[in-house]
Amino acid sequence: MPTSSSRSARRLGGSLAKHATLIAVSVLLGFPLFWMVITSLKTNPQSLAIPPLWWPHPFVWSNYPEMLSAVPFWRFVLNTLMYAGVTIVGVCVSSSLVAYGFSRIRWRGRDVLFQVMVGTLLIPFFATLIPLFTMYKQFHMVGWYLPLMIPTFLGSSVFSTFLLRQFFMTIPESLSDAARVDGANEFTIFSRIILPMAKPALATVILFQFIYCWNDFIGPLIYINNQVWYPLSLGLNLILGTYTTDWPWVMAAATAATAPIIVLFFFTQRTFIKGIAIQGTGVKG
């Protein structure tokens, strides 16, 4: 019979092993990040030093205010936030509706149409660019964010729809049926029962849509013509020299672009990683 002290010793040993593994992987994954941040605090010649310089003396903190004031940084951030905000609304509204239709109702051709939807991901963006752009031009949508925003209200984010559909599929059918028996219409079931349950999944969708917009480069590059409206991803490009590559500035820009997401992720991860607590907790039959 294991004694309490040996049990707690085992637990301590187990916990040490867990931490050791986590720390080892963190070092592996985090080292390139360290390199990014430390390079952002070097002078240009220092960043090109061979052998590499691991710890510059002193830290060139001025890289950050210099870089940030070289371009209208805050304007770009606002633009990105606007882009993200609008598309998040579009995605939440349309993708949840579409995901519901693909998961909570059984109808003929549902799965085939679902595969068609996922299949639309299989044609690369550049392949369809010319007709796509010409089409948006006909719709008078080119020049601003419209081609990037309006489709999100029409279920264009296959990623979000797919993700939500997978989560919806794991909710027992019995819940919907019970509500149907009681005479609830489908939309009520959707909005009053299913959607509240999927809050963590929705939070995941919101986070990923935000991050997608934050880093989206190609879409805004193609459709936006006015520098004033550039999102951060395009705007940061403005500070990079044409013939010289100022590595500290590139890394400072990357750090500045990443830092807000790090903060956002750190404080909101509980919300969506918590997962859906509903799965199979004792609901039988």
């Binding site: 090109l48 905000g85 819940l175 590059l221 520098q227 607590a277």
Partner: protein, 467 residues
């Protein structure tokens, strides 16, 4: 009844309480986000709208608005803005708005092409890809011959001959230079001295001997190097004028580098560098900044004795990346087998896309940018960018002359521009294929994947592919 009860008590006790707190939080957060989004969008829209409105403002006679897209950023962009401001000031009937198109991985061509296809392109576009031939052949850009009248009748003669050659297709002029590039040999004086080389080489044989001395390694890694013909992605094409191999066509008008003696000599010379570790050089170069177009390179870093490059290295790269090198380098005409000096004729060109709303005014702008009847202003701007202008009279401008006097190394770049040996590759519909093939061939020869003969054959094959 039972099922609904089960639903309500569905999430176990503790989590449901946290859940309801979240509901309150989330709802407030959602409302706040929505409000910020709406307010932000409206205010940004107002700000953007007023910014656009200010441009096409009060003039009683209609102002013609031109849009200009370029890939330049950083310090160069500031220079361009200075030029645009000056133009707008001195040309009250035209207003130019310059927009930077970020070109990570050359996506700017994709953007340009889609706007041309959709019928709504910018009025001017600065192209640094050798796409002018393909664009001209496909009818994507405007033939400027129609504007070469009146005060512009003398424009082509005003330019350096090679600038016209680089922009002509089937008798039409399709582009005007923003700046031309002149390629010459940089040498790092202290590094040369370290290996006992007292003066830069005057013949190709001397050059080969000198550069071979300067390669040193330490446990398999490069410490210093002499020269490598494919740094900065500038391969075969850039050495063609030194070997008389720039435009090798056969009687039928097809590319024929395979039979061209100059091309053969050149490719053999390039192959003589295959004894150096390709991967090491590429690794060094990429890490030092050649990524998607950036050009901080091995020479600027002080690790190479020689380099073939243009004025921007000395004017921009060195002061920014390695100020210690200033005053310790020189420039010489490259000692090829063809008489010196010569350079490949290429540069950054302005084109007018098909469908531009105001091509005549666009032409007025780009000829002004080139320095035509605008020598003193452009002559004061070019030094700041380290640019060679489109026409020789600009170099006579006082500001430009002062810059030349201050930087003696610059004298290595100008004589080439008027040299009869200086050539530009003739524009053809497959110009882009040619350039790509030349670069691939160079890399393959250096990696011993192809022999020089195979490389030339490959270039011909790719460049002659039917459209």
């Amino acid at each position: 009844m039972k099922d609904q009860e089960r639903h309500e008590s569905y999430t176990p006790g503790r989590t449901s309480r946290r859940h309801s707190r979240f509901l309150g939080w989330n709802r407030r957060l959602a409302v706040a986000l929505a409000a910020v989004t709406v307010v932000g969008t409206v205010s940004l829209g107002a700000a953007g709208g007023s910014a656009a409105g200010a441009a096409s403002s009060t003039a009683s006679s209609p102002v013609i608005n031109l849009t200009w897209w370029t890939m330049w950023s950083g310090a160069t962009l500031q220079l361009l803005n200075t030029m645009v401001t000056q133009f707008n000031k001195t040309h009250p009937g035209i207003h130019v708005t310059e927009t930077n198109i970020p070109s990570s991985a050359t996506t700017s061509t994709a953007k340009l092409l889609s706007t041309i296809a959709a019928g709504d392109p910018p009025d001017i576009f600065t192209e640094w890809w050798p796409e002018i031939g393909s664009f001209a052949a496909d009818g994507d850009i405007v033939n400027m011959n129609q504007f070469l009248t009146g005060q512009y009748a003398g424009l082509e003669k005003w330019e350096y001959p090679v600038a016209v050659q680089a922009a002509s297709y089937k008798g039409g002029l399709y582009a005007l230079p923003m700046s031309l590039n002149s390629w010459a040999l940089y040498y790092n004086t202290p590094v040369l001295a370290e290996f006992g080389i007292k003066s830069p080489p005057k013949t190709l044989a001397q050059f080969d001997a000198d550069q071979a001395k300067m390669w040193t390694f330490s446990s398999g890694r490069i410490v210093t190097m002499g020269f490598y013909p494919d740094t900065d992605g500038n391969g075969f094409q850039f050495y063609t004028t030194f070997f008389g191999a720039t435009n090798c066509f056969n009687a039928a008008g097809k590319y024929d580098f395979e039979s061209c003696p100059g091309a053969q000599a050149e490719m053999k010379w390039i192959a003589s560098f295959d004894k150096y570790p390709y991967a090491q050089v590429m690794a060094l170069q990429t890490a030092l900044g050649y990524v998607a177009g950036g050009q901080t390179d091995i020479f600027t870093n002080g690790k190479s004795g020689f380099e073939l490059s243009g004025p921007w290295v000395g004017a921009e790269n060195v002061p920014v990346s390695n100020p210690d090198l200033e005053g310790h380098f020189g420039v010489e005409a490259f000692p090829g087998i063809v008489p010196k000096p010569s350079t490949l004729g290429q540069g950054n060109f302005n084109i007018i896309p098909k469908g531009s709303a105001h091509p005549a005014q666009a032409f007025e702008f780009i000829s002004w940018l080139a320095g035509y009847h605008n020598e003193s202003f452009v002559g004061s701007i070019d030094p700041k960018g380290g640019w060679v202008p489109a026409g020789p009279t600009v170099t006579k401008a006082p500001a430009y002359q002062a810059w030349l006097k201050q930087n003696s190394w610059l004298s290595g770049f100008l004589p080439q521009m008027s040299s009869p040996y200086t050539q530009a590759p003739l524009l053809t519909p497959t110009q882009a294929q040619l350039f790509t093939a030349e670069n691939t061939a160079t890399a393959n020869v250096l990696q011993k994947i192809m022999t020089p003969e195979q490389a030339l054959k490959y270039i011909d094959q790719q460049a002659n592919a039917s459209s």
